[in-house]
Symmetry: C2
């Protein structure tokens, strides 16, 4: 018999041994700015191109991870990383300097959580004790590659999202800590026919709803069992569609629901519908949310990271956008 | 204490439940052509663009997998896939039609074997019973994206490789079969400073040598313990460098060594140094090599898939090419 249950319960406990975050100036001056480890004062991070800037930012996040934990990279068993640049070269170039076995991943803006789930399974399967995961995005690199260079100052509709300039790193492992990753759920790809890359929130909302409904059904839990249900980066328009889709299934999420793309920026910041990018969920969760868990203001958080699996090429071909949402549960351990 | 051993021994046995391969006309008319499940008579596979052709080819390989096994996709617990298109959209579009939890992977031409190792760990960790993995490449899509459209008929040096038009799919799981995947080794990223994308064999050879030397050292085996040691796609020039690097460490591989990129094409075919691409190792191993194992002409094969983790962008920036090599052992079970 095939076990049809999709929710993975990590039998060997998986802990957040350490995390590090680095962001750009706009993210640093937003409402969560104080919770990041490092804020770069300029988008170029002292480099000459966006890609090298993103690499420097991710290396900064990883350095915070390793220094805080007093781990050297030779204590790591595995490095899992992915980003939005073509062929994920930011991650590969970082892997070159780490000298650690490397898994390249790609799940668009859901990459950080795909990485966590794969790391968790690796630890449960006995293949690793300490796994470093990283993911990132940079508005300069993303706009140039997916749309137009930012210097072009392209006009966009209100439903468009702003790519978060940020990198998040996390070490998951067997050393007990205050934050445990208890469960994971890999999403299925869902595509309800949206082909407009300025409507990514609407495109991704059905995948997020499917993942949440599957999780609640399989575990026989309800939204109120969590202090916070957090979607990856549906942003303002996508979050409303997400809540509406859930209501159609009789599931209400309201007070204990938020979205990383909404939380990242203040209402006074010009970001259209909110944030997105592989660095969005990574920095909000590994920064602000983990701070809240450590401060005992949150005890149990369900993170549903969303990703739009399109490219500049598929947009030009007017293809519809396949979307995915992966979920994990982070819980506070101890008092 | 951290276990520094990098070789993964799959404690829960992992079997090749099924495999499927589909290739383009040049690969079909090569010396391994009879061993593939399906040969498309034209590069466009009846479609209007290279990307859709690659998708159709991969779907064909997956269909062979599922039909031979009489499995429906709802028996699958997980789909792991990656390809060389920007943002790996060929794989994502296939995932959309499969309705199976999806992990997106990226390891350039080593993607097929990265997928196998992740699948094996998933099965060992208790997260899945049947995992479908796929990877692919298409000369039309790759040349357009990484270099110039093939219509441009660009001249290249003899060390350049020809992208294999091919897709390989495999179902790994717990159902006992004649072929078992017994061990895996994830590579470290190695970059000795080559930045010429027409020298990928030379760029990747050090990573392949590092992976083989690590494997032999950790397991205290010698090359003659295998019927075949097979590199992914070093092609002719890279294979010679690989053998030379090994000789410097006192390790001789000769009679029982071959390379997928060399094996794929005949000496009468115009392919420069040989084949490459995420579909190269996938089709040669899942097609020809598994046929040889089933026919009892090979019993124990070490596959070292190689990948060059560059992009068109990093080439334009004259950045050096980070390379990786992942290894797995496939063994015949039964008589």
């Amino acid at each position: 018999m095939v076990n049809k249950k999709r929710v993975i319960q990590f039998k060997t406990p998986v802990y957040v041994e350490e995390r590090g975050t680095a962001v750009g100036p706009k993210e640093g001056s937003g409402p969560l700015g104080h919770g990041f480890d490092y804020v770069f004062p300029s988008l170029l991070c002292g480099e000459k191109d966006w890609q090298t800037a993103e690499k420097k930012m991710t290396e900064k996040a990883i350095t915070y991870c390793l220094h805080k934990q007093r781990l050297k990279d030779n204590h790591l068993d595995l490095f899992i990383a992915g980003d939005l640049t073509n062929q994920s070269t930011v991650s590969s170039q970082i892997a070159r300097n780490l000298h650690v076995p490397f898994i390249g991943s790609y799940s668009a803006c859901a990459t950080a959580i795909e990485n966590c789930i794969v790391a968790g399974m690796w630890i449960n399967g006995g293949g690793a004790r300490h796994v470093l995961c990283a993911s990132s995005s940079h508005i300069g690199g993303c706009e140039k590659q997916f749309r137009f260079p930012i210097e072009f100052a392209q006009q966009k509709p209100d439903t468009a999202q702003t790519t978060v300039t940020g990198a998040g790193a996390i070490i998951l492992g067997r050393h007990q800590s205050m934050i445990q990753m208890t469960e994971g759920l890999l999403g299925k790809v869902i595509d309800l026919g949206i082909n407009n890359p300025y409507e990514l929130g609407a495109a991704m909302a059905p995948a997020a709803a499917d993942t949440l409904l599957t999780y609640l059904q399989e575990t026989e839990q309800k939204p109120s069992d969590f202090d916070l249900i957090l979607t990856g980066d549906l942003a303002r328009s996508g979050s409303e569609i997400f809540k509406k889709l859930l209501r159609e299934h009789g599931v209400i999420v309201s007070e204990n629901y938020d979205d990383c793309g909404v939380m990242m920026y203040g209402t006074n910041q010009q970001v259209l519908a909110g944030g997105s990018g592989a660095g969005c969920c990574a920095t909000v969760v590994f920064g602000h949310i983990f701070n809240e868990i450590l401060a005992n203001r949150l005890k149990r958080v369900l993170v549903i990271a969303t990703g739009a699996l399109h490219s500049a090429n598929t947009v030009q071909q007017h293809k519809t956008i396949p979307c995915i949402a992966h979920a994990v549960v982070f819980e506070r351990r101890g008092n």
